[in-house]
Symmetry: C2
Subunit: 336 residues, 2 copies
């Protein structure tokens, strides 16, 4: 067992990397939600000035990366690595967005856990002494996700009550080896967890066991309790998945209470906006982190939070072939 | 600039991780090629005993992972991380294969560069002190790739002379912090390079500039010359891409000569097997590395080789939308 590893899945960073800058972007509905004041840019045009939704998604990534670089007063050549991925087949949202920047690039696929995965590897690359500055980024787009995973948007399909709404949003964080924080102190890598859920319109239920698995591993590995964190936030489980995580912990005698929230329940107004079980998509946790969360951490609202985005590792093909939905969750501890 | 980084893109590992074990698997045509004796398992059935080709691809990954674990005398619980990805939409080849092992998992998307990307990050995680044992894995399958990228196999489409044949193969390497080698001494992370090629039936030409870019960065960063390596091997550029890389170096006055080869030209018999420009797919470089290359490195045929798999970061959607094909290449130096 290596000394930097505490337990099976967690690394305690020796020199916690610091958030140098962050940026996010959202679409029309994100701009009508309760977090609208925490977005750097909101665009009513689903095409973001491009000819296709896929190019729009790439453009969202380009804009958040540019903005984060400007804020950190960095040029692309100052960035040692960029780690990015998205939901599109072959992750074209990311490969086309980073193309013009000339930054060494490792592409990731973690479905909606990508903001957690990219930040985790970014923090490890810095703490390992391989990089001074690393960017982590992801995105999702309602229209590209509907076309790819469900039905073309113009069909106007009826959605089931457990369905979630893929966020049209992107987020980018730039980490550096030193700075004034917030800092990433711990990184917990998730295992693939599959409890046999097959309903692709109920992702929250499919991903909740992975969230429970990774959060439990985090608490066990670090020897801490949930009440030592000001906020515990999963990625996009939505209402149902959020309740399942509460239940799974309650079965172990642990009451998470109000300190446990979910990005998918924060992004939209659950009364005024008809988003059913809540938000989903890589862009959900990415835009909530790179706006509301990091801003409030800097302002001192919280001292220590646990950020745990979840991903459903299915594809339309795997569902057609009768497979259940594997989930994964990567967790990070941020300290002010 | 961090001391472990030499130049813009390369890390010189302080404690070069050692290959603990490796395994590969191939299909019918791989079993008829010149490297057939370097496969651990060859299966004439394209379904590998499963009901669908996608499940077959996952099964190939499961088998190479199991075999590599057995050879290293390890249980899944002894492995700190597994890094894997593949060409299938949402990388279901990997997420479904690792599901039953319970190993902390970071999913990657690097198209056919995935064996290079997974090994790079595995080596960095070990050298950074975050892990003792890491598995790196990828796969491809002719039938799943044809269905997804081109035409359903039963259509029997005519293939263009520049087209390559997606290998039905998988490979897994297990790296450890100590051992008797071969060792990974350097890791070079590629940038996305796009020279405007739009012909999805000519991947070699699309990826060759990325291979040239990363190999040039490697030589510049390390201050070495091509003739200091016994073998320089790109992933799956095929005949045309291989020739372009030779030409690009020749334009700079550097003759790579016979020491420069390509996995895509080694896997099949170019006279007897009608594979046009050669092999492609993540499984091509993965199976060539985890069979022929590592076996011969251990036997002493070569002392120092450069392994540089290339990936084409397109999707059918990006091609339909008129986009060109971005490429990426990640390089590793292996020493006996």
């Amino acid at each position: 067992m290596n000394h930097k590893r505490v337990g099976r899945q967690t690394v305690a960073l020796e020199h916690p990397p610091s958030v140098a800058a962050f940026a996010n972007i959202g679409g029309k509905f994100e701009g009508q939600g309760p977090l609208k004041d925490y977005f750097d840019e909101l665009c009513d045009d689903a095409f973001f000035g491009e000819k296709t939704w896929e190019k729009a998604e790439s453009t969202m990534q380009k804009r958040v990366l540019k903005r984060a670089l400007e804020r950190a007063d960095l040029e692309p050549k100052d960035v040692d690595y960029i780690l990015a991925g998205d939901l599109l087949n072959q992750c074209i949202g990311s490969s086309f967005s980073v193309r013009e920047f000339g930054i060494p690039f490792y592409g990731l696929y973690g479905a909606c856990s990508t903001m957690g995965e990219s930040l985790s590897l970014a923090a490890l690359l810095i703490d390992g002494g391989f990089a001074d500055t690393v960017a982590a980024m992801t995105s999702s787009h309602f229209c590209t996700a509907e076309r790819q995973y469900r039905m073309p948007v113009p069909y106007g399909s009826q959605r089931s009550p457990t369905a979630q709404w893929t966020a049209t949003a992107a987020g980018c964080t730039i980490l550096r080896s030193s700075g004034s924080g917030p800092y990433i102190t711990h990184v917990t890598c998730g295992k693939v967890v599959d409890k046999g859920i097959t309903d692709a319109n109920n992702m929250g239920a499919a991903m909740a066991p992975a969230a429970y698995d990774t959060l439990s591993a985090f608490f066990q590995d670090t020897g801490t309790r949930p009440d030592e964190y000001d906020l515990i936030l999963t990625g996009d489980l939505g209402e149902l998945g959020h309740r399942i995580v509460l239940d799974l912990f309650a079965q172990q005698g642990v009451e998470l209470g109000n300190r446990y929230q979910d990005c998918g329940m924060l992004l939209y107004d659950r009364e005024r906006q008809d988003m059913h079980a809540g938000a989903s998509g890589c862009g959900c946790s990415a835009s909530v982190l790179n706006g509301y969360l990091l801003t409030q951490l800097r302002r001192g609202k919280w001292k220590r939070i646990l950020f745990a985005p979840t991903g459903a590792l299915l594809s339309p093909t795997s569902s057609f072939q009768g497979e259940s939905i594997p989930g994964v969750c990567h967790a990070l501890c941020f300290q002010a």
